[in-house]
């Protein structure tokens, strides 16, 4: 491992200064559960590591029914999962965040880190996508926002420009009769990286028998987490039937472009897409209070 400098600033403006000063040689440290492993294995390099966990805005969770949820980028998974507002209003998000590593990892790892690391298999990202989450980004040129589905651009690469960093993630208040779910397939019962991950969210009509809208997202089946927009759009206005759900799952499967690697074969991954999307939709429909027509 190469030696590096370490800074732990108290404010956002200092981070901007530090990033600008190193001209790309600096890396943000949140929980470090990706970064430290990568530095040690020589997969990433850093001349300066900037720990952002001392910045209050980056480790806060706020919620109000009007503006929705805002999660500081460095907030730990365990803090998020134990937040009463998150568990009450966003159980589909908890599904995903709760899967990231074991207890020790959960106490360090952040959702911002999960997102910025831009792994195709990151568990939180498909769940964030189906919740229409938005990234809040800050840099020398001020702040900007970006939908989560546009944040990852390639394996390990995100849309941040040099000198920018992620400050928080926001999620709009959920509509009535909204439900979401995330699940992943791993060969063991814990301690693994998703072979395929699938998130789904639905909004049902007042009878809870039709979809008003739906969003479906997949992980580990393309260079970036994938929003299967056609599959979601297909469900809008359709009745809640097994047939429609299966068709949406097939459509999502069709846009998946998995590869074969150490964690799974392309063929098995493709097969799993349909299985998992259907199961994720089942979960979402159940949470929205819906049920299948006979």
């Amino acid at each position: 491992m190469q030696s590096f400098d370490y800074e732990a600033p108290q404010g956002i403006s200092e981070v901007i200064q530090l990033l600008a000063g190193k001209n790309g040689g600096a890396r943000i440290l949140a929980g470090g559960t990706d970064l430290l492993v990568q530095l040690r294995e020589g997969r990433r390099n850093a001349r300066l590591v900037i720990d952002v966990k001392n910045i209050p805005e980056l480790t806060q969770i706020t919620f109000d029914p009007k503006n929705g949820l805002r999660i500081g980028a460095a907030t730990s998974c365990s803090q998020i999962c134990s937040d009463p507002n998150v568990s009450e209003h966003f159980p589909g998000l908890v599904d995903a965040i709760h899967l990231i590593g074991g207890v020790q990892i959960q106490n360090r790892a952040s959702v911002g880190g999960n997102l910025c690391n831009a792994s195709p298999a990151a568990d939180a990202i498909p769940a964030l996508i189906v919740h229409e989450a938005v990234c809040h980004i800050t840099g020398l040129n001020g702040t900007r926002t970006l939908p989560v589905e546009e944040f990852c651009v390639a394996p390990g690469k995100n849309a941040l420009e040099s000198g920018e960093f992620l400050t928080s993630i926001s999620i709009p208040t959920t509509k009535e009769r909204f439900g979401a779910g995330y699940l992943r397939f791993i060969p063991r019962n814990e301690m693994d990286i998703a072979v395929v991950g699938a998130g789904a969210s639905v909004v049902l009509d007042s009878d809870r028998k039709r979809f008003v809208s739906a969003r479906i997202a997949l992980g580990a089946v393309a260079p970036t987490p994938l929003l299967a927009s056609d599959a979601g759009a297909f469900l809008a206005g359709k009745a809640v039937t097994r047939e429609n759900v299966k068709e949406a799952a097939r459509m999502a499967q069709a846009v998946a472009k998995p590869i074969t690697d150490l964690r799974g074969t392309a063929e098995h991954r493709k097969h799993l897409c349909a299985v998992l999307v259907e199961r994720a939709l089942d979960k979402a429909i159940e949470r929205a209070g819906g049920h299948y027509a006979e």
Partner: protein, 750 residues
């Protein structure tokens, strides 16, 4: 745990005293190899090959030597260039030249992770940085990764000097086939003619690792007078002494090996990797102690996994359910150098059954993967996976319950195996009967997509050389020195045998694992031999103490020695009596200290048989298999410490489940290992396993004073086959490739 009802005729054996090393282990005070810290100690690191197969054109270490903090660099040039010579090494054989080349590659690297050079520096950080400064020029060659392709003529050759050992004769051409072996009995063609049903199938299994929790480590001090001390994690301290002496061409008497506590071995810590490097680095750094430890990826990439294999097996049975003939071909990956456990696999594959007409053929083949090492019943699991799947299918064709079919053909005392040897008193039938009557087998299977499978297994076990010595303390306790490294609780199981023989409580024995200068020669802890063979040494030692104590009693009582008797811990004559403890207090008045020792090489080891039952649930959509219930029935001879015996069985089953479901070495086309981490080498975790129930059958081994048989290895033999049979029962698909990962299950369903 259930033990078939039988009153325990012993006072200590069969009970569960507190383990002697328990407090050290649970408080974290037990000292493992990585805990060693010596004054002036340097830290070593090993440079490893990024290629699976390449010629080493040059190694330039000049830049490293300039780096501040580096004290020594070694390459194969620092090792003696050894001639080929084959020697025995616990549970296998090895050629010293190849072992030297495995420790540090000389002309060629033969697998991804093959050690090429090592450095010693003032810190691990500097040592690792130094590795980046070593310039190695390679000429990359095509890797040979598939065992059957390696056998084809025209395949790239790994070892220029390798010739096939063909039924004991050396071949003449360059080859990757190190050995070709064959056992046969009866008339196979005739046997198959008599068969009503014949099942023939091919099986493929992948390389898997032992997965011990503690990585390899070694610390060495080379003194200016040539005396060497090594602290390490090993299954056998004398084996380390021998190997280091051979590789470095120094006398064994110059080496003292101090075995530290060991965090698992399973056969993988018999051969040396780091020890010779630590010694060389210590010598070259001006006699400073040097410590080397592997990280997990080094352990997985470069230390002994066990063979992947290709197995073809054909079996026939007549209308009465009698097996009429069997034919098996086993082709095992040796890894980079010869020495796969194919011979042991050949011994296991048909052993549980009476086979009048049989042929078993085996090949030992080198491929560009790490040199395999022993792994718990080496070669047995692959073999049983093939045979027990075919047995299950034959039972199905015959319309017989799989246990009934096995009972019809089960080997008993006197039955001959295909290699001609006759079984001694064995308890296979007893395991089958107990399995049949078990609560598990009697319980109905519930739930959709569930299935039940049965499989049996055999392991020969081993005896070997062991020593022990004991001294009586004035407070009536006994200090016991023994040379067997304690992996599975053998300090206690040995102390118990001493205590039983002396008629004292187990707590009154203080067992200590001694180093190579402090105890007589003792083979390693392998082959399920320690409780049996070192048990014999301890038993003989106790007998020796009793004889000497009788002499002391005779002096006290002024009688002839033969007038002194001993029973249940009491010395007595017609008039007098003294307990062991009382007599111990009187040693000073009768001639001073009493010690005894024994060295043994007992041959009466008895094989172990096991029958396992498993229930699984298969998710046909994802292909995931969950283990719902597991019962392992085993003939253990005599359970000296029943809770340890049960843990051995549970551990073996857990490893067998991993091997069956998800564990495998994944290589890319260039032969680079892709999953050298716990994250991606998918061993089972706690949530993957149910409680593993055990039923201990005690068919005493007549070759041991307390009836003990080895128990540690046979439990890993049946699991993959039992699971395969359960999957078939659940979804109607016969899987013939390990691991039976979700993708393979889904493929099977297509």
């Amino acid at each position: 745990m259930a033990t078939l009802e039988k009153p325990n005729q012993y006072k200590v054996i069969g009970t569960s005293p507190l383990r002697h090393d328990g407090v050290d282990k649970v408080t974290g005070r037990a000292a493992f190899g990585a805990d060693i810290r010596l004054p002036g100690m340097l830290y070593g690191a090993v440079l490893r090959s990024p290629h699976a197969h390449a010629k080493i054109l040059s190694i330039d270490t000049s830049e490293v030597e300039k780096l501040h903090g580096v004290h020594a660099v070694v390459t194969a040039k620092d090792l003696p260039d050894l001639e080929s010579r084959v020697v025995e090494l616990g549970e296998g054989v090895i050629n010293r030249k190849y072992q030297s080349n495995n420790v540090l590659a000389r002309d060629k690297v033969l697998y991804f992770g093959h050690a090429v050079a090592a450095v010693a520096a003032t810190s691990l950080h500097v040592a690792k940085e130094a590795l980046d400064l070593i310039r190695v020029e390679y000429e990359v060659l095509s890797p040979v990764l598939d065992v059957r392709k390696a056998m084809e003529t025209g395949s790239p050759i790994l070892l220029e000097d390798l010739r096939t050992d063909e039924f004991g004769k050396k071949g003449e051409t360059r080859t990757n086939i190190a050995g070709h072996y064959k056992d046969a009995c009866g008339d196979v063609e005739k046997g198959f003619r008599e068969a009503k049903f014949i099942v023939e199938r091919e099986f493929v299994t992948k390389m898997v690792h032992q997965g011990y929790i503690e990585p390899q480590n070694a610390t060495a001090q080379y003194n200016p007078d040539g005396q060497i001390t090594i602290w390490c994690s090993t299954q056998g301290s004398f084996g380390v002494r021998e190997q280091v002496a051979e590789i470095l061409e120094v006398p064994v008497s110059d080496i003292r090996v101090i075995p530290m506590e060991i965090g698992g071995g399973f056969g993988g810590k018999i051969g040396v990797y780091l020890e010779p490097l630590a010694v060389l680095l210590s010598r070259k750094s001006g006699y400073r102690p040097v410590k080397l430890t592997m990280d997990r990826s080094e352990v997985l990439a470069a230390t002994g996994p066990t063979s992947g294999s290709y197995i073809k097996i054909k079996m026939g049975a007549d209308a009465n359910g009698r097996i009429t003939a069997a034919e098996a071909l086993l082709v095992y990956e040796a890894g980079a150098y010869p020495g796969s456990p194919v011979g042991a696999g050949m011994g296991v594959i048909l052993a549980p059954y009476r086979i009048e007409n049989g042929v078993v053929e085996g090949y030992d083949v080198v491929v560009n993967k790490p040199r395999t090492a022993a792994y718990r019943a080496p070669g047995g699991t692959n073999a049983a996976f093939a045979a027990e799947t075919v047995i299950d299918e034959l039972a199905e064709r015959l319309g017989l319950d799989p246990i009934e079919f096995r009972l019809l053909n089960a080997s008993k005392e006197g039955d001959r195996r295909v290699n001609g040897s006759a079984h001694k008193r064995i308890g296979f039938v007893e395991t089958l009967q107990a399995a049949k009557e078990s609560a598990h087998y009697q319980a109905p299977l519930t739930g959709p997509r569930t299935g039940r499978g049965v499989a049996s297994g055999y392991w020969g076990n081993y005896g070997g050389k062991s020593s022990a010595s004991a001294s009586v303390n004035e407070d009536g306790t006994v200090s016991l020195l023994e040379g067997s490294v304690d992996i599975g609780g053998t300090r206690t199981s040995l102390a118990m045998q001493l205590a039983e023989t002396l008629g004292i409580p187990a707590e009154d024995v203080r067992p200590v694992v001694a180093d190579t200068d402090s105890i007589g020669y003792t083979e390693g802890t392998y082959g399920s031999r320690t409780t049996f063979a070192t048990g014999w040494a301890v038993y003989e030692t106790a007998k020796g103490l009793i004889e000497k104590l009788k002499e002391r009693a005779a002096i006290l009582w002024e009688v002839e020695k033969d007038k002194v008797n001993f029973e249940n811990g009491v010395f007595f004559s017609s008039e007098e009596k003294l307990t062991f403890k009382e007599l111990a207090e009187k040693l000073d008045e009768t001639g001073g200290p009493v010690v005894a020792s024994a060295a043994v090489q007992p041959k009466g080891y008895g094989p172990g048989f096991a029958t396992h039952i498993v229930d699984v649930e298969v998710d046909p959509e994802t292909g995931k298999v969950d283990i719902l219930r597991y019962t392992a029935v085993q003939d253990v001879g005599k359970a000296i410490y029943p809770a340890y015996v049960e843990s051995q069985i549970q551990g073996g089953v857990a490893q067998g489940i991993g091997w069956g479901l998800n564990e495998e070495y994944l290589y890319d086309e260039q032969g680079r290992l892709l999953n050298a981490s716990w994250l991606d080498y998918r061993m089972p975790v706690a949530l993957d396993l149910p409680m593993i129930d055990t039923i201990l059958i005690e068919v005493a081994n007549p070759g041991h004073p307390y009836g003990a048989r080895g128990v540690g290895e046979v439990p890993i033999v049946p699991p993959p086959a039992a699971i395969a049979n359960a999957i078939h029962n659940a979804i109607g698909v016969r899987l013939t490739e390990l691991p039976m990962s979700p993708a393979r299950v889904v493929d099977g369903l297509k």
